[in-house]
Symmetry: D2
Subunit: 346 residues, 4 copies
């Protein structure tokens, strides 16, 4: 195989990260995230939050991060509103339910929820005379970008935030690929905006060049207390927590996190343009680092010999929608090679 | 108010049940369902099962019964397939999720699931290369009758049973209103059939003239072991368990359970016919003890002064679908009075 | 067998309760505890609370009541402090753990906890630098009377309450046999005191002459909100909730609840005195309706032909501690008959 | 500070591990543990198992590994037997309870359980007529070495295994520091023995020179099926799973894992001997890489300026028990320096 576009975690880590770990290797430090490197990483992240008094916690993985913050927010009889296509509803093997909570799935064609849709669902619950026989909406989960690579714009997020505020429901944004969202065309949501208009959000490391790790930024003061108990209980507290600190410190030094996002998005968008120029339609318009073209099965079979991609869904008898994913590690020449293997649509 | 058709648990219990409890009042007996009356009730129920070696357990309520059997069947990473309108998916405040399991909701217009639909969902899961990132279908939940009063016929149930057998997935039938199903026109499923073609099913008492109580019939030998631990842990083990025994013994003496179902269904069907004769359509065709007519809002407001009913859903600007429910206690003359208050559709 | 002293739920219910249910049988009413009878029972109970603005909720069973209130109080990383002999730690098949919480068991010889003991445990937790690696004490569970029939006096309860207040930890008293505590010699804790010095407490019906049922009195305003969601989710919301209302209304009319407690305690204490007069020691001094004598095995074998009792624990090669339990239903002549079968200790 | 003996995860990783990751950095591979490096690591580990057909799974952390295997083994009404001092009972913030299960803690002075003790507990449960009101012992948890650094010998483990087999209860050994056990004086348990005499055991990486990671060896065929669902649900499935593969492949190449254990134990035992030679007693005799001396508080205050250690417990007014921990990274000269700072006991 020439190159695998299957996902954005096919390689290990950006070299600067490995170098930083190697440099710090024999330095003794505290454990469980109480070390100097996590503290420095926290400062580096907070510097982007425009003065918000947010807490920053580091966890190992995404499923863990989502589960930990969601279980921390909800009372036993509450559930979390999410797009039906949301990661927590589909691809975490019921991790949310395993903590006792229902995912209240709302339909979405492009992976996004709207403020109206959320308000309708919440208002309908509280208007029902038998509400207590049903799961109470206790939280809203979004992801930025979504599972389909789409992004929320600032006006959309603040509308949702206003609904959440009105009903006193926490809003959490899963930023597993957050770095890619900043580089998208039309993107107008900054880290500082996320600190302002969410109760908590995550900054994903795994898909942005780290070995692993998610930074969880907690803005709502009520969620901060005792949060480390939650992390420990859900298995997210790394003994050598400094590894998370070193990685996020590196990512937030000299803008590496944003640079990685820009590189990945640039490769994906070059691929998108090339595919469009060849006459292929997209299943969904993604401005980030995932590309979802509809391609003939015969072509896909051919491509599969040299390039990895993910099957997404069947479109018709002759065409499938697939996903190509780019990352910090994707060489531009591999995008060229891929495009070079794709003839114009007949 | 003249009469409340809101639901089938507006009164206490069939008089024969109260008399039986009163008669047995000072008899000392064992506790927690290990008494002579539960044993006799078990025998009375088993006599209907055509020789099946089923266990019969008694629990207090329906949510509890569903939760207990479902949590007993599933492994941590498994979920239960149910109609989106199913009681466990909507009206149990997330009791299933509180035990750690996702409800895998499938769409249904009439409250029923089909064998094809179930097979498609299960097969799709196991065919997926990333199946382990998703909740595994580990059980199928039906209700007889369904939330919308519809019933499964024998051929439908055996088709579903065959799918479940093929994938080695337990099949559970929630019979909260089971007694009403036997009296429905076209009904061809007996208790013996349920013992043959399900892993477990419940025989609801609350809605069939008991003060409370559900009999859980466990057919699958693998589910029988240690089941009383489950009942105790989920809060369903009544100290004075004999109360459940006395009630089910009474219900299954001289066919009272079936007689109650026939009475309730007869009243509901008389109501249905009367409404149809007056030109009103039904939201769904229910052959059991729930009637779902579509009626003008102006008429409903008027009716509401004398009769209780449940709002079901808005149909258009001028009409709502509502539910009238009948029971062992519904006096035929009250159905007449209700119909007498409903003019022919204009 | 002449009479079974095995426990206090060997018979059904006090006759006044059955009569009240029978009288109300065909009265239509609302369901799920929103009926007129529950409302009246609430008022009758509140009349004993000296003006406290407590909520009163009715649940079916004791395990359910304990589980529901405890799970409602605790955050995911918190546990509940209880005596090692406490019902929730031993005899509820892990129902508390099934909701995700550890029981933090403290040793106790007589079933009681002391304020010092609780304070030491709580203070030690919060003083530990690695506290977040351990379950945080989030609640205190007592029972009145305890599993061993002993009772808390007012000074003991207020001391514990003060510790709980100091650490902002809810205090819950399980009153499964509460009625018996009021009749004990030396008892000085009223219902009004319990409303004043606990966050919540239960008033047990099952062991005090009801068919079933526990009243949960919630004093802490923070625990009141949305509590019916908890009840529904944990399976404790009875469809025909009026049955709980009728029973507690009856128990709290003309002092029946207290009368039942006095009768049961009087029989138990007569038995205790008779045993002492015959030279037998008690394993524990219980002033309520449970008696724990140490008796020779040979005598016990003999007694077992005519009287039921519960084995408690082995004392030595020749003697066991056993439990005799009395109730509203225990005929005084049966206590005489029992004593008549017990010769003086040799 | 000269050197921190606080624990065995004060540094990052053995250099060979970092080098291996750096070498493999840009190699594309599959994700979620389905990669070539995990496969190679599995083979390397299996080569030590004397032909056992064990599965090997890789997880990120220890709490996670324990929680995942324990929740996978137990039915909802079962609990896990562990020493009261066991990690799962004390230091995992109730992670086991959060999955719904009680830890059935047995007393232990040296961190070990005996076969007799376990058999007594299990037999007592099943002999109880009211067993179903109590949590059923469904699993046994040991750790090798224990929290106190002590080790099981082969005869002890096989005795426990025989009890477990007799009652058909899975036996799991937590090997967070397993590498240290092999180097202990008197150790006679090999990896192959663990594969033979346990249902599952873990091989800890974090405390043996890895950045992070635990290998879970599953010997019982019944536990193998669908295990990756469990890992995903509990948050233990690393996207870049190859990192675990590379690390364990390195640890099990040229005996590095055992060499690291030997180095750590040698330093600890040198420290132990030095302390004994100076007249100090040990709180517990640990033959592995943890040392628990009883030292005067005045001396400890002095030592604390140059060396890190963990406070363990107060012994008397003048002495505390503390813990010194050694690892792959501990320089022998630092042990000399530490001993050099400790005068002979007066």
């Amino acid at each position: 195989m020439l190159y695998n576009f299957m996902n954005d975690y096919n390689e290990c880590a950006h070299e600067r990260i490995l170098e930083a770990i190697t440099r710090a290797n024999r330095e003794q430090d505290n454990s469980y995230g109480l070390d100097t490197r996590c503290e420095r990483a926290r400062e580096k992240i907070r510097a982007h939050l425009d003065g918000a008094a947010s807490d920053v916690q580091f966890l190992v993985g995404g499923t863990q991060t989502n589960t930990t913050i969601i279980a921390a927010c909800l009372k036993p009889y509450q559930g979390v509103i999410a797009a039906a296509s949301g990661h927590i509803n589909v691809h975490e093997t019921g991790a949310i339910e395993a903590t006792g909570h229902k995912v209240l799935a709302l339909p979405s064609a492009d992976g996004k929820l709207t403020a109206e849709q959320i308000e309708r669902a919440v208002a309908a619950h509280f208007a029902d005379e038998t509400a207590e026989h049903m799961v109470q909406p206790g939280m809203v989960y979004l992801s930025q970008p979504t599972e389909l690579g789409t992004i929320y714009r600032k006006a959309e997020l603040t509308d949702i935030w206003n609904v959440c505020q009105r009903y006193q429901i926490p809003l959490y944004v899963d930023g597993a690929r957050l770095g890619a969202s900043f580089a998208a065309q039309g993107a107008d949501l900054s880290l500082a905006d996320l600190a302002r208009y969410t109760s908590a959000f995550s900054i994903g490391g795994t898909k942005l060049g780290a070995l692993f790790g998610e930074a969880l930024v907690i803005n709502d003061p009520l969620l901060k207390k005792d949060f480390r108990y939650h992390i420990k209980q859900r298995g997210g507290m790394l003994a050598k927590g400094r590894l998370l600190g070193i990685q996020f410190e590196t990512l937030f030094t000299d803008g590496l996190y944003f640079e990685i996002g820009r590189h990945a998005v640039a490769q994906a968008q070059k691929l998108t343009e090339g595919l469009r120029a060849r006459g292929y339609a997209m299943m969904v318009e993604s401005p980030t680092n995932q590309v979802f073209p509809i391609l003939p099965k015969t072509l896909l079979r051919e491509l599969g010999r040299s390039f990895g991609y993910a099957f997404w869904c069947a479109v018709d008898d002759e065409n499938d929608a697939v996903r190509f994913c780019t990352s910090w590690a994707t060489p531009p020449e591999m995008v060229d090679a891929l495009l070079g293997s794709i003839p114009a649509k007949q």
